[in-house]
Amino acid sequence: MQVHGQPLEGLPDGLFIPPDALELLLESFSGPLELLLWLIRRNRMDIRDIPVAEVTRQYLHYLREARRRNLELAAEYLLMAAWLAEIKARMLLPVPPAAEDEDFDPRLELARRLEALATVQSQAEALHTLPQAGRDFWTIYPAPHPDLPLAPPLVAFIDIVNAWQELLLRPARKPPPAHTLTNPRMGLRQRMVELLLYCRREPRPWFLNELLPPMADRLALAVSLLAILELLRQEALALVEGEEGVWRVAVAGVDGLGDA
């Protein structure tokens, strides 16, 4: 970033400008106000007490030079020239005796606008000197954190129960595509789910005694047996016959013995 003013400090005093410099100079300005501010600073003039005649003379000199070198200038440059001429003319008029205070200085509005621009330039320069990411320091790129669990959805348990209740209350529907337990006994379902997950641990058929809970009471045994039978009936499990004529149970599709 070119700091405004600094690359231009090498220019000679006075109005002479080397042939190539004028174009660069004008390009570096965002508009006529900046050219004017530059002139005032170069002449070390006081912004609140601008010698309008001298500034206007220099300003017009640059405009003429630009035109002579066929540089394109925006219309605002001519507008500024007209404004300067107007201020110069009003300065020649006698100040109304009733209002000798500063407010009637025709240069005041110009001074305000130059001050605003000077403030902006200072602020821009202040920003420019702040440490900037990727220029003066580097921030970390946030490290990935794979497989983060998603937040559970916002749902009340009772809503699930009610949803099921409502489904049950709906008018009769066609028979289900596969027969399912219509009167759910959850102990049985729990055991069915457990059995399915258990059987999937290894891709092989299981002996019945592997699937029955050890040291179980009669009810637990009965539920387990019932769950296996129900899974067989639903064809979620399959019976597999081994070489010795021993039947084993396999998750449907696991062809541990080649014939599932």
Binding site: P144, L154, V155, P177, A236
Partner: protein, 189 residues
């Protein structure tokens, strides 16, 4: 050297390949021995970070042991379940193991793959097997996380729900004999 290597990885949006690292570090006498430092990082990580090999090179990631904490930071605000998701979850909870066509039967409408996937991503349902019928449909069940989230000890703890008509006929019989808790046990099978 370990520090410089960490600085490179930490500031980089992309994984860094061994060749890239070599180009950056080989000519720098201060960085001699960076290969050993890289091996060390790969082997034991650094604090909460582990160096993993991914397509195109290596990158640092947070060790999964901090996932519970990070999940709190990177929460997406929990969103309510849509009616379709809620019904689907209810059917699975009460009828598991169940196939998608069966869920559709209960709900009376098609169940999109997206709904199943979203419920799955939340960790509440999973595939427990396949039914050995044509098409080998997946059998859906709820997960232990589902039970844990609602503080249910098992599926048995799901509140009993009966369709009105059935309730009618059973009720008369049972009411005289049992208290409400027993009703569930007697009539469910």
């Amino acid at each position: 050297m370990r520090e410089a290597l960490l600085a490179l990885f930490l500031s980089s949006a992309e994984p860094l390949s061994r060749e890239h690292l070599a180009a950056l570090l080989d000519d720098d006498p201060d960085c001699a021995g960076w290969e050993a430092a890289l091996e060390m990082l790969l082997a034991i990580g650094e604090g909460p970070l582990q160096l993993v090999s991914v397509a195109g090179g290596y990158r640092l990631q947070i060790h999964p042991r901090h996932n519970a904490l990070l999940a709190r930071l990177h929460v997406e605000a929990p969103r309510p379940l849509s009616k379709a998701m809620l019904e689907t979850l209810a059917v699975i909870a009460y009828q598991q193991p169940i196939t998608r066509p069966e869920i559709e039967h209960w709900r009376g409408v098609a169940v999109s793959a997206q709904i199943m996937q979203q419920l799955q991503e939340r960790g509440w349902i999973t595939v427990a097997g396949h039914r050995d019928t044509p098409g080998r449909p997946a059998l859906w069940v709820t997960t232990p996380d589902f039970l844990a989230h609602f503080s249910l000890s098992s599926l048995e703890a799901l509140p009993k729900v009966m369709a009105a008509e059935r309730l009618g006929e059973c009720e008369k019989r049972i009411r005289t004999k049992h208290d409400k808790k027993d009703i569930g046990k007697v009539i469910i099978i």
